[in-house]
């Protein structure tokens, strides 16, 4: 043991008591973020918790707790603990694994798993025992003793390393997570059909950052099941390098596009007010219908001195007297004398305005929906480190939980015509399994013994 292994800090971190404490603290504190909604608007929190509680929670970083210094500290603490614990124990285990100490009968004397049987024909006993032992464990080694012999077999010495693989995997997960948070990004961009985007907006800071390439959305489509539930969102994207298209591909949810280490995910969609909106204005006095091309923000002057009309807004989910009527243009009709009136023009119900019974009935004559696709744009150079950690963790768990280092020693003492056999086994884990193997060997021996007795009787 080196001197640094005696330092109190090392000893503190090498203790499993710390592991248990940190694990339980992580479990308990993780609950908080599932009860308090994370990353909401300040006003929503103040409304729910009141000013004082809000201030207290803000100080404790409760509203983004999984990224708070104290939660991250717990994760780092766990990793240090795992690392030190492994460092503390691995050298000894490594020595056992790479330099097997060889066979010493004394190590089996106090084995908790033991069985004794007697064999009446010592001549056949050895090959019988060897066969049974090699079937249950593996290669058998023979060692002569004063009044008999030892048979010894072992397997799974390397499985002692399994738990260190699991621990290493946790270090990989944390390292991968750190790499991702330092050198990766997570952003979003909305691209209207036919248009090209060069920059994206980061999700956490809202900052705009440029990409090395351009993304064009050629087409977006959404399909529905008969029930009305969405079935598929599909965007056709083209990647352009300095204005030259290099790649065109469709993406759907669960099938992103990866280009130059940057991933483009289908995450949302929406539609924009049409560029080619034509409204019809029907005068009640004359019954004449006038068609006018218009766009949001523009004003047209109506004939017959009926006033003017402006499109003030386009709402994707318009609420009309408490009813959701879907996409709608909202306009302002200003008569020559009198107050302006609000006119709602739902895309789905073109002659909705007739209901208002005004001097002019406004209706949508022509419109064309244009979609935009909402893309999640991410880059995470740490993801392969994390995935390596995943594989190591699964492999390590299988080895740690379901494999063990098992050794069985059979001691045969020959006394004249009787061979008394003691089967002893040791295992670093899963004592039930080694006992089962010892029982199996004993049963095999007893069965052969019975058969030979019966044949000698007949």
């Amino acid at each position: 043991m080196n001197s640094w292994q005696h330092s109190p800090i090392f000893k503190f971190f090498a203790s499993v008591r710390v592991t248990v404490t940190v694990l339980l603290t992580l479990a308990a504190t993780s609950v908080i973020g599932t009860v308090i909604p994370q990353n909401q608007a300040t006003e929503a929190y103040v409304q729910t918790y009141g000013r004082n509680l809000f201030r207290l929670f803000s100080v404790l970083d409760m509203f983004d707790m999984y990224h708070s210094w104290w939660f991250q500290l717990l994760l780092v603490l766990l990793t240090i603990n795992i690392f030190i614990c492994s460092l503390d124990r691995l050298p000894a285990v490594w020595k056992i694994v790479v330099k097997p100490p060889g066979f010493k009968p004394s190590r089996f004397q106090n084995a908790s798993c033991q069985r004794q049987v007697a064999i009446s024909s010592p001549g056949q006993a050895q090959s019988l025992l060897e066969k049974a032992l090699s079937r249950n464990i593996g290669r058998v080694r023979l060692e002569q003793a004063r009044d008999g012999y030892f048979l010894w077999s072992e397997k799974g010495r390397w499985t002692r390393l399994g738990v260190y693989v699991v621990h290493l995997s946790v270090v990989f997960l944390l390292a991968g997570g750190l790499i991702g948070s330092f050198w990766g990004f997570d952003g979003a961009v909305n691209i209207t059909e036919g248009e090209t985007a060069k920059t994206i907006q980061l999700n956490n800071s809202g900052k705009s950052i440029p990409l090395d390439f351009e993304i064009r959305c050629d087409k977006f489509s959404v399909s529905f099941y008969d029930s009305g539930a969405p079935s598929e969102y599909r965007s056709t994207l083209t990647i352009l390098e300095k204005g030259t298209p290099v790649l065109t591909r469709d993406i759907i949810v669960n099938d992103p596009l990866r280009y130059k280490g940057i991933n483009l995910f289908q995450s949302s969609y929406g539609n924009l007010p049409s560029q080619n909106l034509v409204l019809s204005f029907t005068s009640r006095a004359t019954g004449m219908e006038y068609k006018e091309k218009i766009a949001p923000g523009l004003t047209v002057t109506l004939p017959e001195g009926l006033g003017s009309f402006t499109i003030t807004a386009f709402n994707r989910e318009h609420q009309f007297k408490g009813h959701a009527i879907g996409e709608a243009f909202v306009g302002k009709l200003t008569p020559p004398n009198g107050d302006p009136v609000e006119v709602v023009l739902p895309v789905k119900f073109p002659s909705f305005d007739r209901m208002r019974k005004g001097e002019v009935v406004v209706a949508i004559a022509e419109t064309e929906t244009r979609y935009y696709t909402g893309l999640q744009v991410t880059s995470d150079p740490g993801v392969w480190v994390v995935y390596t950690g995943f594989l190591l963790m699964i492999a390590g768990c299988i080895v740690t939980f379901f494999m063990s280092h098992q050794q069985i020693c059979i001691e045969a003492q020959i006394d004249g015509k009787i061979c008394s056999v003691t089967i002893r086994g040791i295992a670093n884990k899963n004592k039930i399994d080694i006992q089962r193997k010892i029982d199996a060997i004993a049963a095999e021996v007893a069965q052969t013994e019975n058969q030979s007795k019966q044949s000698s009787l007949s």
Partner: protein
């Protein structure tokens, strides 16, 4: 008869099996227990048939997906896994009293799925986010894990009952497995469950990365599965390296299963991305 019909019959088959195991234990008669094994087996066959038929029915409806996409489907799969894992244990350890503590779970899961007015047994098309090859791996791994934890919970309860009566006064506890065996068996189940929970979380993470571009987002379901993982990791470390046995391990196993149940049902009360597992719709 359609799949829902078969599965409602299976509910009563599992209930009958649970009743037989309890009767066999209380009245100390081996015959009902022996019958119960066959009843569970029949129930499991019906359960598998029901799931297979539901799978085929979804193709007839034109949706065509594995029946693992909502709360109803997860519950019937959970019940089947529980029955299968229990049968393996019974075969390996030859003790039918465990059945009295394990078989009520698949019965309750099926009864909840079939009888609760909040759970629809309609076959519904898959939402875009669920259309992934990871769906089957993720759900199957999670529910094998949950089933193992449920049985570990049953065994821990048996341990705590048996341990209360150290002198062996109660006649009812006479044929209980020894505390050492219960402790070891529940530990084996926890290890088994832990491996599958780990695989379930990992497949979920890989899936999330291909659907949303992030492998971990602290969504309540993710977080609660991690809380569960932390509790069972504590149990394993306490036992393997600090030599904890018996009552303390049994309490941790009970706490772990409470976390499993919250991950499964409770999280639906919280907002998040895993709403497909929620009720109603």
């Amino acid at each position: 008869m359609n799949s829902s019909g078969i599965l409602s019959v299976v509910t009563f088959v599992y209930g009958f099996a649970a009743f037989l195991y309890v009767a066999s234990w209380i009245f100390k008669k081996p015959e009902p227990g022996r019958l119960a094994t066959w009843v569970v087996f029949a129930g499991l066959m019906g359960n598998i048939t029901g799931i297979a038929m539901r799978w085929m029915e979804s193709y007839t409806l034109g949706y065509g997906h594995a029946p693992l996409s909502n709360l109803y489907e997860s519950l019937i799969f959970f019940a089947g896994t529980l029955a299968a894992v229990y049968l393996v244990i019974e075969k390996k350890y030859h003790n039918r009293i465990i059945g009295a503590f394990a078989m009520p779970f698949p019965f309750l899961a099926m009864a909840y799925a079939s009888l609760s007015p909040n759970i629809s047994d309609r076959i519904q098309p898959l939402l875009p986010a669920l259309k992934s090859n990871w769906l089957i791996a993720h759900v199957v791994a999670c529910f094998i894990g949950y089933a193992a934890f449920a049985i570990a919970f049953g065994l821990s309860i048996m341990y705590l009952i048996k341990d209360k009566d150290a002198e062996g006064k109660s006649q009812l506890l006479e044929r209980f497995p020894k505390t050492g065996v219960l402790d070891e068996l529940s530990h084996q189940m926890v290890m088994f469950g832990f491996l599958f929970l780990t695989v379930g979380i990992i497949t979920g993470a890989v899936w999330a990365n291909s659907a949303w571009g992030r492998y971990w987002g602290w969504d309540p379901k993710e977080t609660w599965s991690l809380i569960t993982w932390f509790i069972y990791a504590t149990l394993l470390h306490a036992r393997l390296t600090r030599g904890w046995h018996g009552r303390r391990i049994a309490y941790l196993s009970v706490a772990g299963f409470a976390a499993v149940m919250f991950t499964y049902f409770g999280v639906n009360l919280l907002p998040g991305l895993h709403s497909y597992g929620a009720m109603g719709r």
